[in-house]
């Protein structure tokens, strides 16, 4: 494989730098995806298995790992040229690690995604503006 899966730690450091890079550039997009990993595992469906039981995946005894991917853009431009500058990362999350992984995932995303609206900024400003005004009026 040209682009093997990263370890979870490596994934987070690279994801943080990926988000930071986009943030510095001032525009762009980060795409994150997560899905069940069935490829090349014991639970991978054979065509027969699906034909015999279309709902084979509803009751699986053993938990499966997740595949989490991150990229910083589209793989093709509008005129169907391949985007050479695309960075992509992927990692496999084992079922036992899901909680720890998502706790860190949330931290990395919270730290990186700084262009979203900050909490209650407008309300605080209004309050600040109001309070000095009232104090001055009282003084006057």
């Amino acid at each position: 494989m040209a682009n093997p899966h990263k370890s979870n730690d490596e994934f987070f450091t690279q994801l943080a730098s990926l988000i930071e890079h986009t943030q510095k550039k001032g525009h762009g997009a980060i795409h994150l995806s997560q899905k069940r990993l069935t490829y090349k595992t014991d639970a991978a469906p054979t065509p027969e298995k699906i034909a015999n039981n279309p709902e084979w995946d509803l009751n699986i005894a053993d938990p499966l790992p997740l595949l989490v991917r991150a990229t910083d853009g589209k793989s093709q431009s509008q005129d169907r040229k391949k985007n050479p500058n695309k960075n992509k990362l992927s990692t496999i999350v084992q079922p036992d690690d899901i909680e720890a992984f998502y706790a860190r995932y949330a931290e990395v995303c919270k730290a990186g995604m700084q262009s979203l609206k900050k909490r209650d900024r407008s309300k605080r400003n209004k309050k600040k503006k109001k309070t000095p005004g009232t104090v001055e009026e009282k003084k006057a």
Partner: protein, 158 residues
């Protein structure tokens, strides 16, 4: 392509979709900072200038879009937010949905207390007792979910 209005609703419907189709459903998260220099935003700015007279913001406003999509049934649930306060909550929500993807049972404190080291495969009695109920729930949810998808598609066509 349905945007849901609240994150709770998105979480609920996505978990139903994942319970019905755990293997094919994928969840993508897009964090986008718009490029205000691009022609698209230039045009919209001009319109704003003519209508409102003033530009609202110079700083690009990012958006976060969560999407749960199942290509097999065509159900697509989306949620859009621009508030930073949502990020942490939504991603822990993704972790909860990840448990369905991994075929783990729903997180309950009792189960964690009972089997800290045992693991799931070592407790077949628990599995067999819980799976029939879960299966019933899933089969009930599957048709409602697909019906919902059809309704949504019809709306889209109009």
């Amino acid at each position: 392509m349905v945007y849901l209005s609240t994150s709770e609703e998105w979480q609920r419907q996505s978990s139903m979709l994942l319970q019905a189709r755990p293997t094919t459903t994928r969840i993508t998260t897009k964090y986008k900072i718009p490029n205000l220099d691009s022609p698209k935003y230039q045009n919209s700015k001009k319109r704003k200038r003519t209508t409102e007279g003033e530009e609202k913001e110079d700083v690009p406003r990012a958006v976060l879009v969560l999407k749960a999509y199942d290509p097999a049934s065509g159900v697509c649930l989306k949620l859009k937010t621009d508030r930073q306060a949502d990020v942490g909550r939504l991603i822990t929500g993704l972790g909860r949905l990840g448990r369905y993807m991994a075929a783990l049972p729903e997180k309950s404190e009792d189960a964690v207390m009972e089997e800290p080291s045992g693991g799931l495969a070592l407790n077949p009695s628990d599995n067999t007792s819980s799976t029939p109920a879960a299966a019933d729930a899933k089969t009930q949810q599957a048709p409602t979910e697909s019906a919902g998808g059809n309704k949504k598609k019809k709306k889209g066509k109009k």
